[in-house]
Symmetry: C3
Subunit: 109 residues, 3 copies
Amino acid sequence: MRLILAIVQDKDSNRLSDALTEENFKSTKLSSSGGFLKEGNTTLMIGCDDDDIDRALEIIKDNCSHREQMVAPISPMGGNADSYIPKPVKVEVGGATVFVLPVDAFHQF
Amino acid sequence: MRLILAIVQDKDSNRLSDALTEENFKSTKLSSSGGFLKEGNTTLMIGCDDDDIDRALEIIKDNCSHREQMVAPISPMGGNADSYIPKPVKVEVGGATVFVLPVDAFHQF
Amino acid sequence: MRLILAIVQDKDSNRLSDALTEENFKSTKLSSSGGFLKEGNTTLMIGCDDDDIDRALEIIKDNCSHREQMVAPISPMGGNADSYIPKPVKVEVGGATVFVLPVDAFHQF
Ligand code: NI
Ligand code: NI
Ligand code: NI
């Protein structure tokens, strides 16, 4: 048994959580912020048999990897909206920081 | 020294926290949700001397075990309230998922 | 690699978090409450190379140690405000409870 702590972006957390559930991994979300990733992140605790760690990590990687997205910028306030042509900008999203912790004992009551 | 992570239902968390305090266990609550248990759960972190783990687990078991309760259902909306006889329904409540983690070092400043 | 869990008072958490960032420690905040410290605490998770643990602990100690402060008390409600001379009172603030956890594996995606 291991305990996986995965710190992911809020926007990726529901997709990750669903993907984990589909393969019968049990997870709990802790609300967290700052630091490892930009503001608005979530920490998932995932209880995991030793044999299933590689699969769990794969699911995290598939759903939360660091990637770049093109985003339409907000038009500038007070600017001349007619002459403003929005140019998509590249933003970095996603990313996961993952700690795998040893577990001495696991109980369910 | 061990760190116990106990994921319990919100409704059990205050009772558990009080019971732990009564026996001088120190605990901290993390707000958490979903996954291991139905929505609305709380994760307690409990610092614990090795000799006291069994007692801490017993307190968790006593206060948060999975159990069944008879609950009076809400009367159906729009139904004929006069002729409606509420029949108690069985619901599953409680339950605790517990990880006992090894601790390398413990400090208080 | 170790995972440091530091439970500190809310009022110390931003200063600690900034001090950690300045020295390139990555941390994530979990909102927490009660127990180890008075109400209103924050749990910081700090990922840390083995060689850097002593420095991380020093930063926590420097920014969150238990200390006493003199505070001007609120004037008593309904009392005679004219004749009331506020006497500063000593209050205990700060303090940190710190668990250093072993880590089996660390990943960034
Ligand atoms: Ni990048
Ligand atoms: Ni059942
Ligand atoms: Ni003191």
